[in-house]
Structures are given as C-alpha cells and as structure tokens.
Amino acid sequence: MSGHHPPVSDWATDFDHTDPAWAADPFPIWDELRETCPMAHSERYGGVWLPTRHEDIADVAYDTDRFTSRSIVVSETRPVAPAPRGIAPPISSDPPFHHGARRMLLPAFSPKAIAPLEEYTRQYCHDLLDAVAGQEVIDGAVDYSQHIPVRVIAKMLGFPEEDGEKFREFVHDVLEGVDLPPEQRLDNFIKLDAYLTAQAEDHLANPRDDLTTFLLEAEMDGEPLGREHIGGTIALLLIAGIDTTWSAIGASLWHLANNPDDLARLVDDPDLLPVAMEEFLRAYAPVTMARLVKEDMEYKGCPMKQDEWVLLSFPSANRDPREFEQADEVIIDRMENRHSAFGLGIHRCIGSNLARLELRVALEVFIERHPRFSVADPDGVRWSGGQVRGPRTLPLRVG
C-alpha cells in the first residue's frame, strides 16, 4: 500500500515509515540511526522527527507541554479537531481534559473487570482453529490472529458478534491506509461512523450492561459526554485494540515458527509463557505513536517547527542497547524487561491488560493445538508498514 511515495534516498534525512524496506525489516535502520543520528528528520509529511533512543522517546512521551497528542497518526494533513479534546478522546487529548476522559474508561479495563472474558476468548480461539482443522497449511494472521481482538472488543461494546468482519476493514484503513486516496479514506470513515451511529441508537433504545451503554450514560464534570466524544471514544476503542493486538499475536507466532527451540521450550514449560510474551512485546512492539510540535522551539539541539510530527517509536526504544542487554536478541526468559510496547506516561495503553489476556490465551491455545509449526513459505509472509507493524499474511505449516 505504500507504492506512490518516492523511494527513500537516505534514512537519516529522508526516512518514511511507510517504505517497504521499513515494513520488511526496520531494525537495522533504527540501530544505525540510534548511533549516528539519534534525532533524525525527514521533510516528508510536512516534517517528521524520529528519535530512536529510549531516553529521548521517553522524554517526548512525558513532555505533554511541548508536544500535543492532537493527532497521533502521521499524515499529510493536520487535524481540524481542536485541542485539548481532539477527535478520539483520550488518545487525542492533552491535559487537563485528558485525565477525566481516560479515568472514566480505566475501571472497565482493569485486570479484575476483564478476567471474565478469558473463557470466552479461549473458546473463540478454539473455534477459529476448528474451522481450519485438517489443513496442513493455515494462515496465522488471516485465519487466526486478526479475528481475535475484533470479537473480544465487539463483545465488550455489545455489538453483534458477527459484525466484526464489517468494521475490521474500516478500522484497518484508518491506521494502515494512510496512503489510500483521501476519498477512499473518507468513505471508510463515513461507513464506520454510520455503523457506530446505528449501534448507539440501538443501545439508546435498548440499554444493556456493556461499554456502549456505559458511555452513553457516562458524565464528565456533571455533564453527559456529547455525541462527538462518545463516537470518538468508541471508534478509538475499536481502532486502538484491533490491528495492534492482531500484530502482537501474529509476530509472536512468527517468532515461534522460526525458532523451534523456543517453541519446544514453551510446550514443555507453559508457565514461561507470561515471561516470553513480554519479550515478544518488547522485541516486536507493534505500535509507534506520533505527536505534533506545539510551537517552534529548539529541542535537544534540534530546530523543531510548529506542527511538525514526532514519531514515538516505542519499538526502537525497546531495542536500545543503553536500556536492554543484548537488545537485538530475543531471549524468552528475559527476567528484566522494562519495555514500553504499551507506551510511557499519561497515555499508557488503557487496553494493556486486555491485550495481554488476548495474547496469552491466543498463544496458549495455538501451542496446545499445534505443538509444532513452522513458516510454510517465507516469501508469503507480508508485514504491514506504517505505525502498526505485524504480519498481515503468515502461512504456517501445522500438519
């Protein structure tokens, strides 16, 4: 999908996170920049900065005074929705508005609140594998990973289970379709909006015990949320949870398919999975976020202009040898692991407990059903580029 951008001439001065080379293997690019040009700049997208060291990425994530979250997905245009709320609270919000918009959502995603979803998720994972049982080759992304987060969030929001396929496409385009023609993106957005409006109306007519009804009835500072806030938040929950978790599950399966020793170890010692899983999240962190520079300034010696982007590459932070020993190796029993796959600071992923539950259950079920599997066709593996990186096709030989 990144066809119409000119090829990158120099990664330090002209990088593009949608370039096919970045999608296929971004690690050498970041490793090089981290040592030679730790705050790279590109003229693309109206100006983008790319810090690659853990320390610098953390500093930007913590500095909500000088960097705004008004938009967190890099594109040619700048958002029209005003700060501090932005289009999809709380991810697009800045302090002080952010705090309340976030706090209201947290209890629904606490470890205790989501625990009841475990059995539901497990059963669904089994159903997915049942559907392709008997095949020698299955697609770990298309047949398995991509469906899991869709089903779980639809359940939490109280949307019809079978609607998942409908909104997965629209949602996918919002994050990964930055290169699609603007008319097509707008069209997808309108479809998503129409779908969400219909769901909201149905929930208003028939209130029930789910997240959508909760949001429709919620108040902030004694006022109901307002249609735009509710719609933005629901869209966010769909968008933030789907491609991200799908990528994490897929990347973990990809690693295990390529590393039979690690797979055998997890088959023998399933208790290691929670530790191994954190290592997969570190090494293959799927999510890169963005900020906009609030005002012209010099930051760490760099001349930053208002409304330039800063890519927050948590995946690169996680590979910084200043922070991690043997940072470029995947060590599934790494005990010290301060990775930032779920972000740092006030925007820390609200869904991190849910994502961990889904990732753990998805891997448990897959390994239980297929204790041996390998990549069937390395050329058939395609990684997404842009700000969410994971395998979009992953042919696995399971038979």
Binding site: E336, N337, S352
Partner: protein, 66 residues
C-alpha cells in the same frame, strides 16, 4: 528491604502486581500501591527486585537494608 510505589510516576502498567501480587495491589484505575508498610519478607526479596526491574516508568522504588 522495603518497596514503595512512587504515585507520581506510576501509570498503571500493572507489571508489579502481575509479578509480585504479595507485595503490591492495584486499584480500579490501575494505580499501584505497596501492601502494608512495604516491608519485604526475605523470601520475597527476589520478587521485589523483579517488580522494580520490570516497571517501565521506574516507579517501583527499593530500599535495601544496610
């Protein structure tokens, strides 16, 4: 040894609670606190160190006895 959660830094990643539930609790908002006065029994010292080494926000503070 004692553990302490720096509430200004904690962002609710829940790593401490996942790794050492004997020493930490989290509220509905994900914010962590040490249990009781944070005193770590000798057999849990390794777990306390593990929790500190896995908090992405550097919010788990250890005080070693001297």
């Amino acid at each position: 040894m004692r553990v302490h959660v720096d509430r200004d830094r904690c962002q609710g990643h829940n790593r401490c609670y996942a790794l050492a539930p004997e020493l930490f609790d989290v509220d509905d908002y994900g914010e962590a606190t040490e249990r009781d006065d944070g005193t770590v029994p000798p057999e849990l010292e390794d777990k306390a160190r593990l929790a500190a080494a896995n908090c992405p926000e550097f919010a788990v503070v250890l005080e070693e006895d001297r």
